[in-house]
Symmetry: C2
Subunit: 249 residues, 2 copies
Amino acid sequence: MNTSHRTISNVSVDCVIFGFDFEQLNVILVEREYLDPLTGDIVIKDFTLAGYHIFEDEDLDNAAYRILKDRTGLENIYLEQFGTFGKIDRVAKEKDQLWLKLIDQGFADRVLTVGYFALIDSTKVKLFSHGSKIQWFPMEEARKMELAFDHQEILQKALETLRKNVRTEPIAFELLPQRFTLTQLQKLYEVITGNSIDKRNFRKKKLQMPFIVPLKEKEDGVSHRPARLFHFSREIFDNTRNERFGNLF
Amino acid sequence: MNTSHRTISNVSVDCVIFGFDFEQLNVILVEREYLDPLTGDIVIKDFTLAGYHIFEDEDLDNAAYRILKDRTGLENIYLEQFGTFGKIDRVAKEKDQLWLKLIDQGFADRVLTVGYFALIDSTKVKLFSHGSKIQWFPMEEARKMELAFDHQEILQKALETLRKNVRTEPIAFELLPQRFTLTQLQKLYEVITGNSIDKRNFRKKKLQMPFIVPLKEKEDGVSHRPARLFHFSREIFDNTRNERFGNLF
């Protein structure tokens, strides 16, 4: 992490970075560990979202892009601000206060944090630890973990926003490779919404959508019968948007 | 404004308070005026959104409810956080820096602000000035005004979010009285979306929605033929939500 910048001590950004491995929705968490320097006992050992204080000399959105790049090396990624968290006591727990003092970014009794979620194709991303363990967790597991600060609440809100927005915006495709099968797309919708979907209906519906474009190629390197590959056409989606949406009620 | 609380100098809340007068979508703006104490010349005279710094001892959401109550007397109002604005230079203009020094809430070179929009039935609301002129402006006029700070950008983003969310959530009804006519509802959708709507289609579609419930009563005190009144049933809406919404694409 570049530390040549001065930070704003009472404002941070936290990124909920979602990925999909064709089986589950996953999220990146960073380990927070502090051992007592005399006894070696574990004082803090838990996980946080990927976050940091904002720099005095950067726009808020740029702080989120910086954190994402810092942890994944990725740029030009889908990133959406989904909420700002500002309960008085959100960093008041003893270990959280200790942690804030340890990371030495100036100290504030109270920190407000702005949440962004990122959607990445996790099949080809490398994570950067910068000295703290960083790893993907299945969302089903992460949502049951005791995370630092109010990060569990932030994670839930990110998922809720993702669930809501996949219904009206074509953001799910950000989680897939450029070329995907309908089975992969269905699985993705299922893990995001938490509901199983009828295969026949799903295929029928998707095949009618002009922006889900069949390719000549099929999967390769699979043991089952290779399925046809598709890609999402942003151009066709945008051009047909008005035909699809009126007021919904 | 209650000033017995200490404020956080680099974080504020701004409320975009929308109302509907059966003709236009309106928004509340507060005048900001400063005269040179020696010459009496106008140094600052423009408008801002209804906002304030957050207090050290209140949750972020409560700051928004406080500002809303302080300006309208209303509680239990529909309020939605729609974005946090944190460009480095958002309060850097000379008159904005002067104003921040004048209002004496502690001074910060840089202030991040959290935007909330409120939807109120403006037909029966009274505005509280607390020494600054406060008034409703038609949205069409407000969006062309030069507002303080980045408030024009915040206002646009609020409208954009409202436009998007009225398609999927029944929030437009917050802007209407308990009992309304279909003509009023249509006009409301027209002024929010900026598009005219075909009357016959609109009525047909609305009459099929079980949560738009016809009442026995009709309008009174109108010069035209009195129209039937309707009300929105939140209960029916919630109970029928799953029938209406699948994935939209």
